[in-house]
């Protein structure tokens, strides 16, 4: 069932019709049929939200509908493997992220794809900075006190994360490695929601996660922010110091979402997709929607295919050793 017939069937004919008209103009050659953008996570999650916002505008530029298909499984690796093996015709893309591309090789020994050689990079859609937060009555009030307390009380402190391979897991593994407390107690939850629930409720002590999920809780004073892992402070959280200010300048990490195609995507198709992504991110309305989420829009160099390849190479190198040392494995 295509998106259009589903819409018509559900009676939102007016909205659908106007959208269909605007998408009606056909370009020569690619794309001449709807494009599928796979999301390896459930609908409504952070990756899905970014995919939907960006693809909505990209559809206008490309003159073809981009259909989001959510197939979750094995930390997103099943779907990512599927896209790696898909025909490089530009009709199957994936909204990849740090977990599926930078963390998976170290976590899944039997991974059926190579994140670098099996994909054609299109571009970075959004970068979400990582912030370290504690429960609100945690004894430390800044990153220095936090590090000191955790090191002094490794048998008392509990860290929460959103499941093996999640951004909350990966980024905290790096933090713990840099603090020298790899063995610190980590409690896995099924997603950010339940983990955050127990952090706000004071059942666990701290977690690292994307600002998108945490900003409202930090602002409301439900959790305390120790530091944000970016070079400069964020506009949405002006009172939260950076990790550099807090004495951990090496802890620089951000979650990211990026579009990839299968390897061997023809250069002209790649160029059309890069152009569509550029136009989407430069569109003020789309840009604002992403910024409102707490997403940082990468500049043109950062988000270009070469920039994406650089981010990927950096994070693969950064995460490989700490992740392997955890002994956590999938498959």
């Amino acid at each position: 069932m295509t998106t259009l017939t589903r819409r018509a069937a559900l009676g939102a004919a007016a909205v659908a019709a106007s959208l269909a008209m605007s998408n009606g103009a056909q370009a020569q050659g690619y794309p001449n049929k709807p494009i599928t953008m796979m999301v390896a996570f459930a609908a409504g999650g952070p990756t899905d939200v970014i995919a939907r916002i960006v693809s909505e505008h990209m559809s206008k530029t490309l003159g073809q509908q981009i259909i989001i298909e959510n197939v979750a499984g094995a930390g997103g690796t099943t779907t990512t493997a599927r896209v790696a093996a898909a025909a490089p015709d530009g009709y199957t893309l994936i909204m990849g992220q740090m977990g599926t591309h930078a963390a998976a090789p170290a976590l899944y020994p039997n991974l059926r794809y190579n994140p670098v050689t099996d994909f054609t990079p299109i571009g970075v859609a959004g970068i979400t900075p990582i912030v370290i937060v504690t429960k609100k009555d945690f004894p430390a009030n800044n990153l220095r006190e936090f590090v000191a307390y955790v090191k002094a009380n490794p048998d008392k402190v509990n860290q929460a994360h959103a499941g093996i391979g999640s951004t909350a897991f990966t980024t905290c593994v790096l933090l713990k490695a840099q603090m020298g407390v790899q063995k610190l107690n980590a409690v896995a939850y099924r997603g950010t929601g339940p983990a955050l629930n127990d952090l706000v409720g004071g059942q666990v002590d701290f977690m690292c996660d994307q600002v998108t999920n945490l900003t409202p809780q930090i602002t409301a004073g439900n959790v305390k922010a120790m530091g944000i892992a970016t070079p400069a402070r964020l506009a949405v959280l002006p009172n939260v110091p950076t990790t550099t200010e807090g004495g951990m300048p090496d802890y620089q990490i951000s979650g990211w979402n990026a579009i990839f195609g299968p390897k061997g995507l023809p250069a002209d198709i790649q160029a059309r997709l890069v152009d569509a992504l550029d136009k989407a991110l430069e569109d003020p309305a789309t840009n604002k929607r992403l910024a409102d989420l707490g997403t940082v829009i990468p500049n043109k160099t950062e988000r270009a295919p070469a920039g994406l390849a650089a981010i990927l190479a950096r994070d693969l190198a950064l995460l490989d050793k700490p992740l392997r040392e955890t002994g956590a494995v999938g498959q």
Partner: protein, 501 residues
């Protein structure tokens, strides 16, 4: 008073023509997907998310919320008419609801579940409006240890109340618990009991299991024995409950509403326990518990009220805290963020129109659902007159579409067929599928919460008794167990789950 000015703001928003239309659309779609076996609110909301792009956030969320609680109304329909639970929350409705249908009281069962749902929905809406913020604290009091003890209590209910075939019921619960451990281990990332078969790496989906051992198995059972179907289709009977039935159902509705409301607030999908707890309570309180499982109206009224109350109050953590307590609410978070509303504690103050508009629309939606559902009862009951040879392919088809739509996976459909055969074998050997499903639903949470609690306590089991709420819940579980095992009482012990021999 603040509440009234807020509510009038909310009704102002919700009563605009556009929002009324969206609310109706949501409720109507919800009713439809609730009725179609297998098609659940998660898949539907995910599919409809893109069409809400053109609508403002308040309208979009009003519609999506309508789909969710509308599905709770509709879900009871298939449970009662064809013995297929569409959702985890309507599993218990099959027990007495379908028996009522077999006795020609399908209309009464559908009527009482619609009325019960309306009362529960209205109460829960008032609860959200008046006490939403303080109730959030309840959700936060429940850490992993408390949650584990709650699940233990839930399992005790089931074990204790199983009679005669108590061994078989326990076996089914255990099997359910075992099935729930299939898939990737949450804490270590290791796969367990998947035999290297990739589609099992995320475990079995509840719908796959439920559609298989209830839906498919039921169809096979009926095809084997066409006469039993004729009983259902010949006696249609009254469409609405009469005075006596209303009086019988009144107290169960009140208790179910209360239980469901409290459990709905808890994180990690506490709402699924609501109907089970309500059913157990009603049976325990009943003068003659043997009527349960043979078409007792209390066994429909209580659980149906509980599931709808839980569906409404599960919005509390989302609206007041921005933390989703279950998968549908997680999707609502996505819907909010796509529309530029960042869910969090600030929603109430920053977007009062959205907050109070949604609350007001929930009450309006419940009223609409009552109005949609009561006239439809006549239509649903007539469906029973459709010859079974035409009915069963439709049931199977919709089940397959529903299963496929969950994760766009054909393997899920094949697995459902497998569990269909398995469920048929169970029925033949006199095992009941409901305890298996309860074990499965509780099992995932039971293991997850126990391990989280133990990791936090550094392996000390004392954590379960040192924490007062957890200890209290375990004590209740123990009391139930002891009381039930006393010989005098065990005589009265009865089947919670047996469907009817």
């Amino acid at each position: 008073m603040d509440l009234f000015s807020n509510l009038s703001l909310g009704f102002g928003v919700a009563l605009s023509l556009k929002n009324l239309a969206l609310c109706f659309t949501g409720c109507f779609i919800g009713t439809l997907i609730g009725v179609l076996p297998g098609v659940g609110p998660i898949a539907t909301i995910a599919m409809l998310l893109p069409i809400t792009f053109g609508i403002d956030p308040v309208g979009a969320l009003i519609m999506l919320a309508g789909i969710y609680y509308g599905a709770q109304y509709g879900g009871s329909t298939t449970a009662i008419l064809v013995n297929i639970p569409g959702e985890a929350t309507s599993v218990v409705t099959t027990l007495d609801g379908h028996q009522m249908a077999k006795q020609g009281r399908a209309g009464v069962a559908l009527g009482i579940s619609a009325i019960g749902s309306f009362i529960a929905g209205s109460f829960a809406t008032i609860l959200i409006a008046a006490l939403g913020a303080p109730l959030t604290k309840l959700a936060l009091l429940f850490g992993p240890a408390e949650y584990f003890s709650l699940m233990v209590m839930g399992l005790c209910f089931a074990v204790v109340l199983a009679r005669g075939s108590i061994l078989k019921a326990v076996a089914m619960i255990m099997l359910g618990l075992l099935l729930s451990t299939i898939g990737t281990d949450l804490e270590t990332g290791q796969e367990r009991m998947t035999f290297g078969f990739a589609p099992l790496s995320d475990g079995l989906d509840f719908a796959v299991l439920a559609m298989g051992i209830f839906g498919f198995a039921e169809v096979i059972k009926n095809l084997e024995n066409p006469e039993t179907r004729d009983v259902v289709k010949q006696k249609v009977g009254r469409l609405l409950p009469n005075g006596t039935e209303m009086r019988q159902a009144a107290a169960p509705i009140a208790r179910g509403t209360l239980l469901g409301s409290i459990l709905g607030i808890l994180p990690g999908n506490g709402a699924v326990l609501g109907p089970f707890a309500s059913y157990t309570l009603e049976k325990k309180l009943a003068q003659d518990p043997s009527r349960f499982g043979r078409g007792a109206i209390e066994g429909v009224a209580g659980p149906e009220s509980a599931n709808n109350a839980g569906a409404q109050t599960s919005f509390i953590p989302l609206l007041t805290l921005g933390i989703p307590p279950n998968a549908v609410m997680a999707l609502m978070v996505g819907a909010m963020t796509i529309h530029g509303v960042i869910p969090g504690p600030q929603v109430m103050t920053k977007n009062p129109q959205l907050f109070w508009g949604m609350i007001a629309s929930m009450w309006i939606g419940n009223l609409m659902l009552l109005i949609i559902n009561l006239p439809l009862i006549g239509l649903w009951v007539k469906l029973l007159k459709v010859p079974y040879r035409l009915m069963f392919p439709a049931i199977l088809l919709f089940c397959c579409i529903g299963i496929y739509s969950i994760n766009n996976s054909p393997v899920d459909v094949a697995m459902t067929a497998f569990f269909g055969l398995f469920g048929y074998a169970l029925v033949k050997f006199g095992f009941e599928p409901a305890p298996l499903l309860l074990g499965y639903v509780l099992g995932k949470l039971l293991e997850e919460k126990m391990r989280q609690a133990l990791i936090i306590s550094r392996g000390s089991f004392m954590t379960f008794v040192e924490r007062p709420i957890s200890a209290g819940l375990l004590l209740v579980a123990l009391v139930i167990l002891v009381v039930a095992l006393l010989p005098s009482i065990s005589k009265k012990r009865n089947v919670v789950f047996t469907e009817n021999s």
